[in-house]
């Protein structure tokens, strides 16, 4: 339902690219997460999809119709895309109800529709309040209701939980995506928090430096990352350099890069590849213990373990199935 082909955008006439040559397509009814650090181009990407920015090259198709290209721009008001802004962007001078009615003023049964979405987000009894009288979480839900009211064919959420504290965050995340699933709308949400993406997205798109580096399901991103960067998004990794490979006596292909996740390093001698190490420092982390160890070749590593009776000399190792392989 969304198709994007070699989309690029530069804000300084080509000196640097906020988005460079990005192509992908999205299926109807799925929830997508766009993950990337600040400056990775994720906000630019959704603003381009919404029609708030114009591309420098490439095109965007919505439901088979080209809406953005180098020759054509369908204005944002004609795209039927709902957008929930990071800072919610509620109209401060309008009541909650008027905020929601704003996008559906031409609808015949607009009052009913407004009531419907207000009930969906559980704020029906607050409809006469003004945005400044609501809490952050409530404003968030109003913004969602307002975006859903015109029944958009695509819903985009820009960093929807970044303004909320962590307690509220996971609760609201589940609430919001329950609502989205209920409506069945295709949704894209932007986040820099991998946890957000993992818990609710059907598929995750990873942007780095304006480029799309991987688009896949969460499980595949974890087990088959195509780059060190993607692997590092889901936890700490240890790069398997030539030296480490010889210490563990594991011969790996020479035309690839390899890494192993910290949590896949075990402290026992039953792994395929093992070596001995000296524990330098133990840090108690609650569930786990973090160890700073020194390998016999002098290299330092940090590993995490659930064991709590660690001796000074340990054997550590990993299995070949956990080795991550990248072509870089």
């Amino acid at each position: 339902m969304v198709r994007i082909e070699s989309l690029s955008k530069s804000f300084d006439k080509g000196k640097t690219f906020a988005l460079k040559d990005v192509s992908f397509s999205l299926k109807e009814g799925d929830v997508y997460a766009i993950v990337g650090e600040s400056g990775s181009g994720k906000t630019t990407l959704i603003r381009l999809i919404a029609g708030l920015e114009t591309p420098d090259s490439g095109f965007i198709e919505l439901n088979g119709i080209q809406v953005s290209s180098i020759k054509k721009m369908v204005s944002p008001e004609k795209r039927n895309i709902g957008l929930v802004f990071q800072e919610y962007a509620l109209f401060p001078h309008l009541s909650l109800l008027d905020n929601i009615l704003y996008g559906i003023s031409k609808l015949k049964n607009k009052k009913d529709r407004a009531q419907e979405v207000l009930e969906l987000v559980g704020l029906a009894e607050m409809k006469d309040r003004y945005p400044h009288q609501l809490s952050g979480g409530q404003q968030q839900r109003v913004a969602l209701a307002r975006a859903l009211a015109p029944k958009p064919s695509l819903l985009i959420l820009d960093e929807p939980f970044s303004n909320l504290d962590s307690m509220l965050r996971s609760q609201l995340r589940n609430e919001v995506f329950d609502i989205i699933k209920k409506t069945g709308v295709t949704a894209i949400f932007v986040t820099h928090d991998t946890q957000d993406a993992l818990s609710v997205a059907d598929e995750i798109l990873i942007l780095q430096g304006g480029k799309l580096v991987q688009k896949d399901q969460a499980a595949n991103l974890y087990t088959k990352p195509t780059s060190v960067y993607v692997a590092s998004l889901f936890g700490n990794t240890i790069q398997l350099s030539k030296e480490l490979q010889s210490v563990f006596e594991c011969p790996l292909k020479t035309d690839c890069c390899h890494a192993i996740r910290n949590e896949n390093i075990a402290i026992n001698d039953e792994c395929e590849y093992v070596t001995h190490a000296t524990v330098l420092k133990k840090t108690f982390l609650g569930n786990d213990t973090q160890l700073l160890i020194k390998l016999d070749n002098g290299e330092h590593l940090t590993v995490i373990t659930k064991h709590n009776n660690i001796t000074e000399r340990i054997t550590i190792g990993f299995n070949s199935k956990d080795v991550l392989e990248f072509r870089e």
Binding site: D21, G58, L83
Partner: protein, 554 residues
């Protein structure tokens, strides 16, 4: 898929495609508005090619030096005086606690409510033979010693004492909001008050102070009423003389061009002096300045120092005018005068309305246009305020007469009907010139309130299916109302006070309070100028106070 390189993306062909895609009606509207505003300057530039008038060589030989010398003299002396009045008062009221500080803080703005030519009339009245000073001296049984102020220095003093609030306002804003951290840091380091002011605060406040100073200097170059009354020949009086006495438009145009060059040099200097300054928006970091408690003796000294500009810039001229007004109101205050006042307010109202509409149109059409170059070009629209009123007037006259001649010609050939001028010498030309001159006055408050509204608010409206135009009326307008209202009031006041432009362009049968005051003064009936002057001052003071409240509320 082949990688599209930066080269092909930014090839000429693709640039043109995007240009075509991004151009919309707002791009065109922005260009049209900017063109209309730039038209006077363009006209003057084009007219330069017609060559100077017959008297030009005479002026160059005998008068030009005097114009240049006097104008520079005024710029230099006014700079010194205005910095002295403006910076010291703003520092004292920001830094120290003393009796009547709060009242003086806003009284120091009020000299702006009196146009400088009216201050000039009042001062002439105080120091003239048989003037107030002589009366007081005789009353006290003293020998009359006349102080002659009808000269260059007198003019510089009058202009400075009535214009220093520009510097006061801009430097006070800096002192109140930015100086606290600096002071704390320098106190921790053990630097004395006096030293930290001169070595730390003043250099950092320089861009703010100079921004205010440049506004003063533009007003100095703009002034006609005070200079001509004091008999000092400046560029502006020269333009008037060549236009009205010598009846040589070409010469007036050449002088105007020189004056515009001088103004642009000032603007470039202002830009250059803050080339290294980055505006940091430290909302949370800076506390408001902490006021120092000082001894009673010092308090008294500061009170006297701060009261001086208020006394000489506002209270004294006001008292003189009230005295004159008391003597003449029965002769001046009659039916004709009421009509004149209504006319003035009407013109100010129409002008303020149009100016606000044009400023808003320029801001929003530039925003809705998607072409970067045009967006930058729209900033040129505010330069009208830098151009002296007399120059704007002459610049407006050139194209309006041209269009009128063409219209008259066509009407004559088609309908064989000979009409008079349709634009020139009518309210249309006058209001058009006012709009150009005061666009920046409206532009700045509207723009600053617009910038306070996050861009995502209109973006949200658009993604909800509402177009630019409707978004403006439903969302943005309610949110920037205060900015628009302030803009309206500011332009309204400026029109009331405006003299040189009005003198040149006003329709024959229409008058304003400012022109009436000027006419009385020129006819040696300066006492009668008091009533129209007081009308201007009171109508200008009330909104200033109201505006202060309005801005304080936000």
């Amino acid at each position: 898929m082949k990688q599209a390189g930066s080269n092909t993306i930014f090839s000429l062909k693709n640039r043109l495609f995007r240009l075509k895609r991004d151009s919309n009606r707002w791009s065109i509207i922005t260009l049209v508005v900017v063109f209309l505003i730039a038209l006077p300057v363009i006209s003057i530039a084009v007219k330069l090619f017609d060559g100077p008038g017959e008297t030009w060589s005479h002026i160059v030989a005998h008068l030009l030096f005097q114009y240049v010398y006097n104008s520079f003299y005024l710029l230099v002396v006014c700079s010194v005086l205005v910095l002295l009045f403006g910076v010291t008062t703003s520092w004292l009221v920001s830094r120290f606690e003393f009796p009547f500080r709060k009242q003086l803080e806003w009284l120091l703005i009020l000299p702006l409510a009196i146009p400088s030519y009216i201050v000039a009339y009042a001062y002439a009245g105080i120091f003239d033979y048989g003037g107030t000073l002589e009366l007081i001296q005789r009353f006290m049984g003293l020998q009359f010693t006349r102080i002659d102020i009808m000269n260059r220095f007198g003019l510089a003093f009058v202009l400075s004492i009535s214009l220093f609030p520009y510097v006061y306002v801009s430097s006070r804003a800096f002192f109140l909001n930015q100086a606290n951290n600096l002071l704390e840091a320098s106190r921790v380091l053990g630097v004395k008050e006096w030293n930290s002011f001169f070595k730390l605060i003043l250099p950092l406040a320089r861009p703010a102070i100079i921004a205010g100073l440049i506004l003063v200097l533009m007003e100095v170059l703009n002034d006609y009423g005070a200079a001509t009354y004091f008999g000092v020949s400046t560029f502006t009086t020269g333009i008037f003389r060549s236009w009205f006495s010598l009846e040589e438009p070409e010469t007036a145009i050449y002088l105007s061009a020189l004056l515009v060059l001088l103004v642009f040099a000032l603007i470039l200097f202002e830009k250059w002096q803050r080339r290294h300054i980055q505006f940091t928006n430290s909302k949370s970091g800076n506390k408001r300045i902490y006021r120092k408690k000082i001894s009673k003796k010092m308090q008294l000294l500061i009170l006297v120092m701060v009261s001086f500009p208020v006394l000489f810039g506002f209270l004294l001229p006001l008292a003189q005018l009230l005295y004159w007004g008391f003597l003449t109101y029965s002769a001046v205050f009659e039916y004709q005068f009421l009509l004149l006042s209504l006319q003035t307010f009407g013109i100010a109202f129409i002008t303020a309305t149009f100016t606000v509409i044009f400023a808003t149109l320029l801001i929003f059409s530039a925003k809705w246009n998607k072409i970067g170059v045009i967006k930058n070009l729209s900033r040129l629209g505010v330069l009208g305020y830098a151009i002296p009123g007399a120059v704007v007037a002459i610049g407006v006259m050139i194209p309006t007469i041209f269009i009128d001649k063409w219209l008259i010609g066509t009407m004559h050939s088609i309908f064989s009907y000979t009409s008079g001028f349709l634009i020139h010498g009518t309210l249309i030309a006058l209001v058009y010139a006012y709009v150009i001159r005061f666009l920046a006055v409206a532009y700045n408050p509207i723009e600053s309130t617009t910038l306070k509204v996050s861009n995502t608010i209109p973006d949200a409206s658009k993604t909800l299916g509402v177009g630019n135009f409707k978004t403006f009326f439903k969302i943005e307008f309610p949110l920037i109302k205060t900015g628009i209202l302030s803009a309206f009031i500011l332009v309204f006041i400026d029109v009331l006070k405006e003299l040189p432009l009005t003198l040149i362009l006003k329709p024959f049968h229409i008058n304003t309070l400012a022109v009436k005051a000027f006419e009385y003064a020129s006819d040696e009936r300066v006492m009668e100028a008091a009533i129209p002057s007081l009308f201007i001052i009171f109508t200008a003071t009330i909104p200033v106070i109201f505006l202060n409240r309005l801005l304080a509320k936000n």
